[in-house]
């Protein structure tokens, strides 16, 4: 797969660098709202929409935004999209808005979105940024839905509000409470690591490729990142 192509970006976001299971970003909504599969899916898709739009917008503006104030600029762009999405949810999907509550406005400070803006969109073109946002957003949605589904099945005996467990099943209440979120996240992350190790043993490449590293992280000391640091030092002089 060619780097930065659409398919590669999607695959990278959903599997290789899944924001939840691999990068462990955005833990706050991950742990807080995944009490059921529908909540997880709703949160994931809402974030995906904001992430995709903000990635494209920031990518388009990347030549105009001055380096020194790029973080506040990102926040303004992201916050605008979050406000739009929140108003839309209130108008058309009030039940989801109610279920997710304060976590919708908190998408502004979701570190996945800011992270992708900083690490990818700020240094790549709008098309590949679009697919990067889509991939990461879908990866986040898949992860949250999976966590929500496991918690809902174990903790309430239902899936997407349909009873799927036998009547005699006694729901394990702890799974819809906060500790259950940690248990399930840990187990799923361990499971995907196990699968990846098996795949790697078969010779398939599932390693993190550090993609999105546009050699532009200011504080990154990795060899490849020296390019940007050197350029900045040059600027300072």
């Amino acid at each position: 797969m060619k780097e930065n192509s659409a398919i590669e970006r999607l695959y990278n976001g959903i599997v290789k660098e899944n924001p939840t299971f691999v990068l462990l970003l955005g833990m706050c909504p991950t742990l807080a709202v995944t009490t059921s599969a529908i909540n997880g899916l709703g949160m994931g898709l809402t974030t995906a929409v904001v992430l995709t739009l903000s990635n494209v917008m920031i990518s388009l503006l990347r030549k105009i935004i001055p380096n020194g104030v790029r973080i506040p600029a990102f926040i303004v762009v992201i916050a605008s999209f979050v406000t739009i999405v929140q108003l839309l949810l209130e108008a058309y999907l009030p039940f989801l808005n109610e279920a997710l509550g304060v976590y919708i406005p908190l998408i502004v400070v979701n570190c996945i979105i800011l992270g992708r803006a900083e690490a990818y969109a700020y240094s790549h073109g709008p098309v590949s940024s679009l697919f990067d946002g889509l991939g990461m957003g879908l990866g986040f949605s898949v992860a949250l839905t999976a966590i929500g589904a496991v918690r809902e099945i174990l903790g309430a005996g239902t899936l997407f509000n349909m009873a799927i467990m036998p009547k005699s099943y006694q729901p394990i209440g702890i799974f819809v409470l906060a500790p259950g979120a940690f248990f399930v996240l840990a187990c799923l992350a361990a499971a995907q690591n196990y699968v990846k190790r098996k795949l790697a043993a078969k010779g398939k490449d599932v390693s993190k490729i550090g993609s999105g590293c546009g050699h532009d992280c200011l504080n990154c000391s990795e060899g490849a990142c020296t390019e940007r640091t050197a350029a900045l030092k040059e600027e300072d002089k």
Binding site: Q170, I172, G173, I174, F175, L177, P179
Partner: protein, 311 residues
């Protein structure tokens, strides 16, 4: 002559105390309370004990197979299973008891690195898991013998309790917690063999009595305080769970601090909390703070400290 000059590296003197011997003594010390529970609640209590012990040992055995290192020989899984059973009501379904054991051994102990690495008491971890997951099952103390509330719940509701029954243990409650006498017999065994000392249980109970005396609303009323001491899992927790080697502080100062913390927390849970009991939550909360308590009470090394170093 050659035999007289044996050259070997240290240690030259080995203690006979091993993990197995300590665990064995703890099991012996738990038997009086366990036996009384079976006498008090009937044969089903025995089955609950068997279920938790067998599932605890079996879980540890399976994990040992996976790690290719068997640790069931140190008897700690039996202690965990026994302690868990003593913390369960006799009416608990067998599958829930087994689930508690599996959680205690697998999640609380083995996943953190096995005995010695667990950050909270496995039996209490299992109990709290069950308590949060199945509150209805875990607080159903109605049996053929007892239909009323536990003494502690009655006390909270302002009813009279029979102190003699509480001391002997003829009350409702979990399998192993009811009989203060049986627990104290076990505690004496541990004290005599030097397995535990009175630092933690003593500080715990004294702090608790002071707290309840001051904030309990009954003043230092002897029957009320005695009922609070003998009711619920306080005795069992103070002597058998707060003193767990792995999850208590190792510094002497830390142990006093730990005991005082547990006393205050138990008092807060019992006096101001919504439920009648709070020993298990107090202890696992204390377990989590143990590293901090050790950090602030590290003793000064010999020759350090004093005025000449206080610059």
């Amino acid at each position: 002559m050659a035999d007289l000059l044996k050259v070997s590296s240290n240690p030259h003197v080995r203690s006979k105390v091993t993990t197995e011997s300590i665990m064995f003594l703890v099991i012996i010390a738990l038997l009086p309370a366990c036996g009384f529970g079976i006498y008090n609640f009937g044969i089903r209590a025995l089955f609950v004990v068997l279920v938790t012990v067998v599932s605890a040992v079996f879980t540890e055995f399976l994990f040992g197979l996976y790690k290719r290192k068997q640790t069931i020989g140190d008897l700690s899984a039996i202690v965990t299973g026994l302690l868990l059973a003593m913390n369960l009501p006799v009416s608990i379904p067998y599958w829930a008891a087994a689930m508690g054991s599996v959680f205690a051994i697998l999640v609380v102990k083995c996943l953190f690195g096995g005995l010695g690495q667990n950050f909270m008491n496995p039996a209490l971890g299992g109990r709290c898991f069950l308590l949060i997951s199945f509150p209805a099952l875990m607080t159903n103390f109605v049996t053929d013998a007892y239909t009323g509330a536990t003494p502690l719940a009655a006390l909270k509701a302002g009813e009279e309790v029979n102190l003699l029954d509480m001391v002997i243990g003829r009350t409702a409650g979990t399998i192993g917690e009811t009989s203060t006498v049986a627990i104290l017999i076990g505690a004496c065994i541990l004290l005599l063999f030097g397995i535990i000392d009175l630092k933690i249980p003593g500080t715990y109970l004294v702090t608790f009595v002071l707290f309840v005396g001051i904030f309990g609303g009954h003043g230092f009323d002897l029957p009320y305080l005695t009922a609070q001491l003998c009711g619920g899992g306080l005795m069992l927790g103070a002597f058998f769970m707060a003193t767990d080697y792995v999850t208590r502080p190792i510094t002497v100062g830390g142990q006093y601090l730990f005991g005082a913390f547990l006393g205050i927390m138990t008092g807060i849970f019992r006096v101001f909390g919504a439920g009648a009991e709070g020993v298990s939550y107090a202890i696992i909360l204390g377990n989590l703070l143990v590293p901090l308590m050790e950090k602030v009470t590290i003793p000064k090394a010999f020759g350090r400290g004093g005025k000449s170093h206080a610059k």
